[in-house]
Symmetry: C2
Subunit: 209 residues, 2 copies
DNA sequence: CTTGAATGTTAGCATCACTTACATATGTTA
DNA sequence: TAACATATGTAAGTGATGCTAACATTCAAG
């Protein structure tokens, strides 16, 4: 975690100064420790040192605060995947794999955030931040396809499966389903091998190697 | 849903007769309608026509009831995947794909159940039912591998990626992430194509076609 | 300096999960 | 059948929760 609730500008007297951010940071910490459901408004208020009514000046309700947290998560995830991409040649298989591994690593490091971002059916995505996140994947796939001119597949027909693979790996891992059913799973290797095999299959469709 | 809370043996006088099952069915319905979190003990009690203290004669707490629901889910999922497998030749690629599609279809039909089964980090799996569920996949992969003798891969190195693919597809779909980012996604085709490409990649490793 | 908007507080509501003490039914044994 | 232990229900209460309403304080613009 980059910042903590304690880091956030302290309350001085009657007014807090930056309650909104302090509450988001507090929620982030609480959620990281106690899980997505283990977070209560009251706890966040105690952490920020304000009364239990104060948050409602900044957030319409509990879900509104959680949505703000989700946006923060998408911003972090975008940074992480972009950084991973930039470390490898444009359009290379390694770049695609590294991006996928960064996605999974984010899910590990920020599992509560990850669940909040992707695991709430009714979540109203606020466009910009998460579209940008998906856009990074699309761009990467476009670059991959342009390196292999024989491939005629639409970008989405490659991007969506890739997302599916890494999201499945991340979800199964952080919800401890591997721990129960396949405890020896090395998730980095899983992502690398599965992505590699998938891309091999894609190239095979075009008669490439 | 096969049964409803209303179906369950009615309460006659002081004693209910089958409160445990009635509560599980009620929870199943509530969760299907209002989502995993939208379920309260109080609602389940109202549906079953008992006081709010009654459930605690049958379940230690709320989570215990939810665990019972999860077990029910694993039983249903096992039936579904086994049925899908049985409809295709032993060890065929079609069988593997059909099983994956059945997994995703279950997630669609019983999304709340699916989340309860796989989406709770602290969930204490009760062995039998969910191990059996995973065992069906393992058996299917064993059959696939024995049809392709050149393949030397361990069962798990094929089974885990397959699980990853279908779980990713199911999760992204039911949590409406496709609806936001990739609205045109046909999840049956996604599973079929991705599985096919992955298996092509696996076969390529052994120099097969 | 005044005044209005922003941001905080206190007190309270309805609901929730869960507990305790008590009531009723069931079934086994005499 | 009578008596009793056990299983299963109820009523009432506890502390916590999300959220609201009414009121208090501070800030910032004229």
């Amino acid at each position: 975690m980059a910042s903590t609730a304690a880091d956030t500008v302290k309350k001085t007297g009657y007014h807090h100064g930056s309650l909104r951010e302090a509450l988001i940071d507090a929620a982030h910490e609480l959620v990281s420790v106690s899980g997505t459901d283990g977070f209560t408004m009251a706890d966040a208020c105690r952490a920020a040192g304000v009364s239990t009514a104060a948050p409602y000046r900044h957030f319409s309700d509990r879900e509104d605060l959680i949505n703000a947290l989700a946006s923060k998560g998408f911003t972090i995830l975008s940074e992480r995947t972009q950084t991973a991409l930039d470390a490898h040649p444009l359009g290379s298989t390694e770049a695609i794999i590294a991006m996928g591994q960064a996605y999974v690593q984010f899910a590990i490091d920020e599992s509560a955030l990850f669940r909040i971002m992707f695991g709430r059916p009714g979540h109203t995505h606020d466009g910009p931040v998460d579209s940008e996140c998906f856009g990074i994947l699309l761009k990467a796939v476009e670059n991959f396809l342009s390196v292999h001119p024989a491939l005629k597949q639409p970008v989405m027909s490659v991007a969506v499966p890739l997302w599916t693979i890494v999201h499945g790996a991340a979800s199964l891992l952080i919800d401890q389903n591997f721990a129960v059913m396949a405890p020896d799973t090395d998730v980095d290797a899983l992502v690398a091998e599965t992505t590699q095999r998938f891309l091999t299959g894609v190239l095979a469709e075009a008669g490439q190697s």
